[in-house]
């Protein structure tokens, strides 16, 4: 009876333990020294370029099981080719109606050369009574070849530009942090930190998310430890175009006109509050970026294009939202934006290699 009263929508304290995973069979789980490859990828819960209602001009919500399985197999294949030691994933479903209740963290562990994982929900509810979403459990994950410890979910601020009912059923974003003892470098412990910041807030919620992120990294740095970090920051780099409203506009929408219901499209405009265009400067100033700040707006480093942009505007990718940073040293020549993975998500993976010698 007590179990029958569990919350309908799961809320989280400021910090909580992330859910730990392990692959069904271990595969090269002993670190033999050497450089450490890191990947960040928003995998869009394995729906690839499906015209999902929430983040493109589509109307669909629930993809069929066979296509999900095929997409996840392709993502696993890509990860195997990249052969990373640490993978930071955003938008991973573990028990959601929209993706056939597949546990995608477990699937990727069982089908890649990664052995350990930790997961933190950003959206967990028995039922979302909107758009046919139904049951949902989606969030961020860290996968690693080596064992993770001290896995922690750190809560990010809720949006304040929503009514109470919407906010109750809405996302509860987080960053997830874990220690990887096997990768300790010269006495310095190594942490992985993964974030998925708000995409659609029109208030200063994104600033609060970045502030919490910077504070978390600063604490690790101050303790004398190393970190590799990244994720989908939903922020453009300094010097980037900040207004994508018209290129993201769907057929039935209207922006930048006096009669428009909203002047800017949520998620497509990056000047919602003062300082937003330079919101990532503290990260660039304090730490090393996988893609150098001078190159970050080059076409080869763009990481995102909404799912239906290609069909509508012939745009494959037009902005950078996904990043990797470290307080160690990347081997600059090996950092890469994997634009060949365009068909597998609306975000592209970014990889970089942490130098073992320079740390």
């Amino acid at each position: 009876m007590i179990l029958g009263c569990e919350p309908f929508v799961t809320e989280f304290p400021d910090t909580s333990v992330a859910v730990l995973y392990e692959s069904a069979s271990q595969n090269n789980s002993t670190y033999g020294g050497g450089n450490i490859k890191v990947v960040t990828w928003n995998i869009r819960f394995g729906i690839a370029r499906f015209p999902f209602f929430g983040d493109s001009c589509g109307d669909d919500v629930i993809l069929d099981d066979d296509t999900i399985e095929k997409n996840m197999a392709a993502i696993a294949d890509s990860l195997n080719v990249m052969d990373a030691d640490i993978v930071l994933l955003q938008e991973v479903d573990v028990n959601s109606k929209r993706t056939g209740y597949m546990d995608q963290v477990q699937y990727l562990l069982d089908n890649t050369n990664l052995n350990y994982g930790c997961y933190a929900s950003m959206w967990k509810a028995d039922f979302i009574p909107s758009d046919g979403i139904g049951r949902i459990d989606a969030g961020n994950a860290i996968l690693s070849k080596y064992e993770l410890t001290d896995a922690e979910r750190i809560k990010l601020h809720l949006r304040t530009d929503q009514d109470g009912l919407t906010q109750y059923f809405y996302l509860r974003r987080n960053l997830v942090k874990a220690k990887i003892p096997a990768l300790t470098q010269g006495g310095k412990e190594l942490f992985a930190v993964n974030i998925h910041a708000t995409a659609f807030a029109t208030d200063d919620t994104k600033q609060k998310h970045i502030d919490t992120y910077v504070e978390t990294l600063s604490d690790i740095h101050s303790s004398g430890a190393l970190f590799v970090t990244g994720g989908d920051l939903n922020s453009v780099p300094p010097g980037s175009v900040t207004d994508f409203c018209l290129s993201d506009m769907c057929a039935s929408e209207d922006y930048h006109t006096d009669g428009a219901e909203e002047y800017h499209k949520e998620g497509s405009y990056f000047e919602n509050f003062e300082g937003e265009p330079d919101i990532l400067l503290p990260l660039y100033n304090a730490y090393n970026s996988a893609i150098d700040s001078a190159d970050v707006n080059l076409p080869i480093h763009l990481t995102h294009g909404p799912s239906t942009s290609y069909e509508i505007n012939d745009i494959k990718f037009d902005r950078k939202l996904d990043y990797l940073f470290t307080n160690g040293s990347w081997i600059d020549s090996l950092s890469q934006t994997h634009q060949d993975a365009w068909e597998l998500s609306d975000h592209l993976p970014v990889s970089a290699v942490l130098s073992a010698e320079d740390n």
């Binding site: 029958g4 009263c5 309908f8 629930i62 028990n95 109606k97 909107s130 139904g134 009912l165």
Partner: protein
């Protein structure tokens, strides 16, 4: 031979039928010309000593439904009856297959015409002051077109009731016990098992406990809880109902029922 058996059953039903107020789940029919309805119960009407029908009037125009109950001959000291139900859920389901708030089913799905048929055998007996009712029956769900399995509503109470349309058939069995503690106060406990053999999430078990206060022949109020557990596409789940999501709390059922006998 079959014709004779059916004739006998109908005759026996006519001879031995028994009527009672406030006993919607039992084999007893409503007395002739009496009606009863509740906030969460259907409108029931004793059309004759041998026929009771019921409908959910508020839902009728989007979820056409009707059921009839007919008495059968006594069996091993039990009063028996059969209940037949027909429901056409398509208009309602297509109403909630929409974008935005209250889009319970994804708008990419259009539900085809569907018909739900249900036949239930009811047996009731008073045993040492306890009214016991046993029931069992067969449910059929007929879809006149393609029904996409992704359009299920994966919620307690709902999933297994609609599951019959995806699985094409199901079985239900249950038991009710009712006891009057005083002339005006009674307790009702029931348990119902729904089986959908071969279906992903193939059973649900529902249990209800209600205390009722009979103000008069024309009004009663009930309170209690409903508990449901079962298998779903996402695994096992259980829920105490009614549950208020935003308050994250269970609240007692409050059921008001009215009835009246027409002269």
């Amino acid at each position: 031979m079959m014709k004779r058996i059916i004739s006998y059953l109908l005759l026996a039903g006519f001879l031995f039928s028994e009527t009672r107020n406030w006993d919607s789940h039992s084999a007893y029919l409503l007395p002739q010309k009496r009606w009863e309805m509740g906030l969460f119960q259907p409108f029931r009407y004793g059309y004759s000593e041998n026929l009771e029908y019921s409908v959910y009037p508020l839902w009728f125009f989007v979820l056409p439904n009707i059921s009839i109950k007919k008495p059968q001959n006594d069996l091993a000291g039990f009063t028996t009856a059969t209940q037949y139900k027909i429901v056409y859920p398509t208009p309602f389901l297509n109403m909630i297959a929409k974008s935005g708030i209250m889009g319970i089913i994804s708008p990419e799905f259009q539900l085809p015409p569907m018909l739900g048929l249900s036949a239930t055998w009811l047996m009731s007996k008073n045993m040492s002051g306890l009214d016991l009712t046993l029931n069992s029956g067969l449910d059929l769900g007929i879809a006149f077109g393609d029904l996409d399995t992704r359009s299920t509503v994966d919620l307690p109470l709902v999933y297994h009731r609609l599951g019959v349309y995806y699985n094409k058939w199901g079985i239900h069995v249950g038991a009710d016990v009712q006891k009057y503690m005083t002339e005006k106060i009674g307790i009702l406990a029931d348990v119902d098992l729904r089986l959908l053999p071969g279906f992903k999430g193939n059973y649900s078990l529902e249990h209800k406990l209600l205390i009722s206060w009979h103000k008069s022949e024309n009004f009663r109020i009930m309170t209690g809880y409903k508990f449901v557990m079962g298998e779903y596409p996402y695994g096992s789940d259980m829920r105490l109902l009614p549950y208020i999501p935003m308050a994250e709390t269970w609240v007692p059922i409050i059921e008001l029922q009215w009835g009246k006998s027409r002269k």
